[in-house]
Amino acid sequence: MIAKPINNRAWFFVLPVLGFVLFSSIVPTMTVVNYSVQDTMGANNFFWNGDQWFRDLLNPTTAIGQRFNDALFRTLAFSLTCLLVEIPLGIAVALCAPRKGWAVGPALVVVALPMLIPWNVVGTIWQIFTREDIGLFGAALTGLGLPYNVTQEAISAWTTIVVMDVWHWTPLVVLLSYAGLRAIPDAYYQAARIDGASRWAVFSKIELPKLQKVLVIAVLLRFMQTFMIYTEPFVVTGGGPGSATTFLSIDLDKIALGQVDLGNAAAMSLVYYLITLTVCYVFFTIMTQLERRRDV
C-alpha cells in the first residue's frame, strides 16, 4: 500500500463539486440563519432578535418549546423503532438471500423495487392499502376485529407509518448486508466447518464482525432518512390524527408555510440541522476509524 502523496493541486479537481453543492446550500443556509436571529413587524422590516428564538425553542415551558420537544421525541421514537425493526430484519433477509446462481440478479432487483418508487407514490400506495373499504391491509385488520383506523386512531396511524417505512426501506439494509456478506472469503466458512462451529457461531463470530462497517453505514442512512421523513407520512396521515404523527419535518413545514412564523421556523430548522450534523460527525469518526484499521 503506497502512502497517499500530498498534492494541493488536487483542489482543482474538487472545485466543481464545491461549486454545485455550495450554490444549493450556502444562500439557503444563510437565509435560515438570517431569519433565526431576527424578528419582523410585518411588511418586510426586520430587527435584531439575538438568540431569543432559540431560547424559546429549547425551553419546554414555552408553547413553541413544548411543541418542538414533542415533535423531536416523536421523531426520535419513530427513528428508533424503525432501526430496531429494520436492521435485524434486513440482516436476516440478507442471510436468506441466494448467494450463487441465476437467482441472485433478479432477487436483488425485486428486493430493491420499493426504493425506486417516488415517495409520494409510496404514500399513496399505503394510503389505499390501509383503508378498510378498498385496502387489503385495512380490511384484513378490521376483519380481525382490531380497532384499526388510520385517520382517527393514533396508535393505528403511528404503526402504519412504521410498517410503511419498514416495507419501504428494509431493502436498503438487506442490500447493504448482502454486499458485506458477499465480501467474506470462502476460506472463513471452510475454517468454521473444520472447527465444528454451529450456524449461530458462524454468524456471531464471522459474519457479524465482518458486517461491522456495512452496518455502520446502514444505521447512519436509516437513522438520517427516518429522522428527516416528510413526504410519506404527510400523504398518509398529514401528521394526524391530532399531532400523533407530526414529525419534526412536518411540524416545521406547518410553522414555516402554514403560519409563516419565520423566526421560529428558522430556529427550529437550524437546531434540526445541527442534530443531523452531530450524528454525521459521530458516524464519520467511526468510519475513518474502521477505514484506518482496514489499512493497518
Partner: protein, 360 residues
Amino acid sequence: MTSITLDHIAHAYYGKPREDSDYQLKPLNHVWEHGLAYALLGPSGCGKTTLLNIISGLVIPSVGRLLFGERDVTHLPTEQRNIAQVFQFPVIYDTMTVAENLAFPLKNRRLPKPVIEKRVAEIAEMLDLTADLGRRARGLTADAKQKISLGRGLVRSDVSAVLFDEPLTVIDPALKWELRSKLKRVHRALDLLMIYVTHDQIEALTFADKVVVMNDGRAVQIGTPAELFYRPEHTFVGYFIGSPGMNFLPAEVEGARARVAGFDLALGAAYPDLPKGRSVQVGVRPEFVSATAGPGLPAQVRRVADLGRKRLAYVSLAGHPLVATLPNEMESVGDSVNVAIDAVNTHVYVDDIRVAGRAP
C-alpha cells in the same frame, strides 16, 4: 490415528470425463501412511490444490474412493473428517483473543473447561504463543496468525491429518526459516499425518518425508527428497527438482556406454534391450558434472555463475547446453574446459521415463 488411502481417485470439474485428458486430476492410487509429512509439489494448475480439497472435503471426486483408515469418507462433509487446515491467507476470528481462538474448536465440541484450558496452554507452549494468549488475534503478525490457525487444528486430540495450502505465501521472507523449522518440530512432537501444498521445492523438500511431484494433473513421482534428487523417475522431476534442474542430452545407448553428441560416455549400469525409434536421453544433475583440469569431454564455456557456496559453469557440449559445477580449486576458466560426468548418477530416459539398467 489413521492413514489416508486414495483408491483410484480422479476428478474433472465439468462435463462427463471419458478419457484421461478430460480429468483435471488424473487417476491416483496411493496410501498416505500415518505420522509422515507429505508435500504436494508442482507448478500452478497442476492439480495439487484439487487433491488437497478432495482430502479436506471441499471437493467430492468424480471417480474413486477416499478412506481415512478403514472409513470411506468420500462423500462425508468436512466437519466429519477430523482434519485441520492452514490456509494461504491467515484465517482467524478477529473479535477473539488468541486463547479463545485456540479454544474455539473444543468449545464447539462442548469439552469441559479445565480440559480446554490445559490443552490450549499445551499447544500455545509448543507454538511459542503463550505470551500472546491474552491479546486480540487481529493485531498480530501474519506468521503468528498462521500459528493460531495451525493451533486450532492441533488442540483437537482427534485430528487425523493437518492440511497446509501454501501457508508461507504471506510470511515475510526473513521469517520463513523460523516458521518452517517450527512446523518440522511440531511434526516431530505430534505423531500426525501432514499434507503440505506448495510450488516451492525448498519448502517441499525441507518439510516433507515424502514428496508427491505433480504436473498437469498427474502424480509423476512419489518419493523421499533423496530419491527425487538422486533417481528422478521422470524427466519432469529431474527438471523440476534441483536448482538449476537436471541436464538432458539426446543419446544412443549401447550396453553400458552411450554416444552423446559425438562423444563416448560411461554409464553406471548396462541397458541391453532398449526399444528402437523412441526418444532416448541421458540425464545427469549439474552437481555430478564437474569441470576438471584432467581428462574429460571438451566443452565451450558460455557463462560462469558464482552462487557463493558453489560456482556453476554454463557450457555447451558440441552445441548441447550443459550445466557443470566449478570446483573451488579451479580459479578461473578460459573459453573451453573439460567436463567429467559421474557415471553412477547418470540415468537413461526413454520417452521421459527412467529405464533401470542392470549391474555392468
